[in-house]
Amino acid sequence: MSPVLPLLFAWPAAVILALLDSRRRWVAWLAVAALAVVFAAALALLVDVLGNGPRTTVAGGWPDGVGIVLSADALGATFAVVSVGVVLVAVLFEVIGGTESRSFGALALFLATGLCGLFLTGDVFNFYVFFELSMIAAYALTTYGEGARQLRAGFIFAVVNLLGSFIFLIGVAGLYRVTGTLTMDLVAQRIAAVDPGATVPIAVALLVAFLVKLGLFPFHFWLPTVYASARPAVAAILGGALANIGAYGLLRFGADILPGALRAGAPVLLVLGVASLLYGSLQAVARRSAPEVLAYSSIGQVGYVIVALAIGGPIGYAAAILYAVVNSLNKALLFLASELRGWLVGFAFVVGALSVAGVPPAAGFLGKLEVFRAGVEQGALLLSLLVLGSALSFVYMFQIYQHDFWRDARSAQVSRRAVGAVTASLGLVIVALGIWPEPLLAVSRRAAAALTGADG
């Protein structure tokens, strides 16, 4: 199966939807249907890649080495499935509740196109183009609702992340300069022969770009305003799907293309990851409104991904991938559930809270377990800091659960059943992944193997 397939569905659907008005019911449902098809295509691609190994196509039938390479390996396909899945659930949630803006469906589809493209490309510059495509759609989506708060948040989001993107572009220029190619495989081969003095500034530029995207401390300053101001469905897309770009970018560019620079920078990443973990968790404990707590929790949770990435090796990478996947599901669920009430939503929120805190049977337990497993060899200090972050996440999650779902339970209106059912089904997925973890574990190990080159 060709890695182009999800793009072939997503791109035309986005263009058609751009001409239609998403406020009409049938157009909104068309967007959901199109996303479902893209999700199915990405899922089929993942199954194919897991069964038959990585897939590569050169766009436009150009000879090798001239055309732009699209390639799907276990890592890219996994992230594509998770991200498109999160976008699908968030859009479904918003469509059931009623879309308020003309362009919502088209923007969501453009975002999905960009995400599929950047996870399934084998070309460094093509990665930048798809990355910009999804980010531009995200800037516009952040202003969804068009209140003064959303607009201001959208502007800040756009400016900070565009600065990150241009720094990334400078890094790409550097990569081309030192290797003379833009194809990821060739860059990875040729970079070994390049003077480390030249690769370090490039690696730093790429690292800064992805850390800004991921919202890691101390690049987090834009994140709380944006996540807390955006509407729940949009915040779910930002926290659940878009943040994956940062995690994927670090894994692809760090572990796959610049492994030498990643090893050299591992201590820095470790310190930043732990700092982010503690800072995010402590800030989250101090907040009272659910979106703010979740925003700071996002800063804390990506700390685990970075720590696992810094530890490295097959176990570390697998833990980073697993945690990124679980974290994006958690964040999507919690942002969606944060402004709803009712027993179904209460159930979903508890599942998400347990998952963030790392309590079985939610899938978050699995993620924490893998990160701890990777961290065991790093000594007691790191492990105790990780456990501290975990304990803090338990505190802040149940603080807001208590505050929002117990105290306000009588006064608040129960939300519509269908909207509650969407969040509850996402909760069920998280529990199912926690109870039957083998598929997720196997996929993350295969994806890590694709990074370390053990997977052909």
Binding site: L151, R152, G154, L163, Y176
Partner: protein, 123 residues
Amino acid sequence: MTLLLAAIVGTLFGSGAYLMLKPDLLRIVAGLVLVSNAAILTLLAAALQRGRAPILPLGDGPVSDPVVQALALTGIVIGLAVTALLFALAYCVYLTSETIDLDELSRLETRREQELEEEELSV
């Protein structure tokens, strides 16, 4: 030539970063435009070589690298699109808040939050 380009890129990026620190939304957009041009110039500088335009049929002599030119063109298009988007966003901010000063905007935000909190307390 490389040194000259490096100096220009540095100046552009520095001025852009300086403008982005201003509280005025339009200055921030202008700063971002400078930074985007710094990035595009870096792309061009990444493969500086003397040669003729790479148009078929290729004659004798060296040909300049067409890849970076394609990249720079793409970069310019993306830069144009995001500039337009940012101006539109700034205009929308002005329409809803009647100011494009970030300090003023955050004052408005704080006031709104305080009102919300008082409402919550009175309930």
